[in-house]
Symmetry: C2
Subunit: 265 residues, 2 copies
């Protein structure tokens, strides 16, 4: 499975470099510069230049290191840009070959992040939880659920390309799990790629963030343990430093802190 991710990353990266041309975008995000790949009428999503490995040989070196020891490579200083380049190569290449297809990149990203989590946890995910109540018994469809077994943590892991206005669903699902199984039984980990939005006419990029709403959700709906981004927006990263704490971190952090998270909470 990791092999397959590496093959897809390499092929997608080559599509971008050989069948599309990079164009600079105007960034309205402080401290971040973006480009997009264009092929005919089709324009990729914005790519954060500082996080994307453009050089093919360097990417091959990264992918070899990743295959050699996945957790060690992803927890290293190279982790953030390796993760971003693998995920973004496929999504951007898909944008340049299919017009406005949102579903395939979202499915890819869920499989990509889900696999890396399963690999690090050493456990496969489920996608439903049992509801047992006085008046009903059944299965509730969920995002990925990882159960590491007796005495270790269970995780509720929604995976999204970006969160936008639908993110309240993530806190609401966490609330349902807290209600069914008790608070603290499932740690909520949200994994997201980015919050960029490209204006296709003006060719400028913004990040869309609603940090005050997230604070309200974290205080009043449920508590998520981590929100991991492949390209963390500064407005959300700041939430990790003030009350109420919303622990927004680079996804690469997961690979070093997974053991800590997996112990008793």
């Amino acid at each position: 499975m990791s092999n397959l991710l590496v093959d897809i990353a390499q092929a997608s990266h080559r599509v971008l470099l050989t069948q599309a041309s990079p164009i600079d975008l105007r960034s309205n995000v402080a401290g971040k510069a973006y480009l997009a790949f264009r092929s005919g009428d089709r324009l990729s999503r914005p790519i954060n230049k500082a996080l994307f490995v453009f050089d093919e040989n360097e990417l091959l070196r990264r992918l070899a290191a990743f295959m050699n020891d996945r957790a060690a490579h992803l927890a290293s200083a190279d982790g953030p840009s390796t993760l971003y380049t693998i995920a973004m190569s496929y999504c951007a290449a898909s944008d340049t070959v299919r017009l406005l297809d949102k579903k395939t990149p979202a499915t890819y990203f869920e499989i990509f992040a889900g696999h890396l989590l399963a690999d690090r946890f050493g456990a496969n995910p489920q996608t439903s939880a049992t509801v047992l109540n006085l008046d009903m018994k059944g299965d509730l469809p969920t995002d990925f659920i990882f159960d590491l077994g007796a005495g270790r943590s269970k995780f509720h892991v929604p995976i999204k390309i970006s969160t936008r206005e639908r993110v309240i669903q993530v806190w609401a699902h966490q609330r349902v799990l807290d209600g069914i199984y008790g608070a603290g039984r499932f740690r909520g980990l949200l994994v997201a790629l980015t919050e960029t939005k490209l204006d296709r006419k003006k060719l400028d990029v913004v990040e869309i963030c609603l940090p005050d709403q997230w604070r309200v959700y974290q205080m009043f709906i449920a508590q998520l343990d981590r929100i991991y981004y492949l390209d963390p927006p500064a407005a959300y990263a700041r939430l990790a430093t003030g009350y109420p704490i919303v622990n927004v971190r680079p996804f690469s952090s997961f690979f070093s802190e997974a053991d800590l998270l997996s112990g008793p909470s």
Copy 2:
């Protein structure tokens, strides 16, 4: 404002009858028969035949009775079909003149239902709630909020053409209000038009309902007081009869029970 709704209903109804042709749809919903209006390439959403007033003179009589005493007419036996015909005439006419425009009917429906609620409550809605906490003070954007004043109820009123998979947001917003202001301070009333889905190739109609998920949300996220439909799906209406109670009712019921709901809960 009520005048405007009546004018729009009458004009839209005439567009459907004179510039479009009714075609029968195959119904996969037990006990309900549907048609759609077609104009050239454009096909309206499905219309429940038993709830739609097709005859223009009968509609004019209804609209006159509505203008004469809105609450009394809507609480009468004519209420369900008058409400449905006013709302559906505009939405279906819009479908036959603009291809796949979802936003205008949704905005119209929100104004339509919001106005009728404001008229019945004798209070105008707000669309934000104040958040006051140890660490922040600000305004949270919300659906319609009706505050009837000291000693009377406050209402949280989301209004949707259909609920689909996004409905968990409604329970989550209710949870936020319960958290900020205390349980029972805001009564949650969801108003929805219908849950039909039309297959445009096969010309058949289904209702998409997830009653078990609603029961889980009602048990574990927050409690909504009422879910009003202009065309209540049977699968949801049944939720009003078993535990956990989800009080799904025809929207016309609101006009007779509004005083009861407005007292202390």
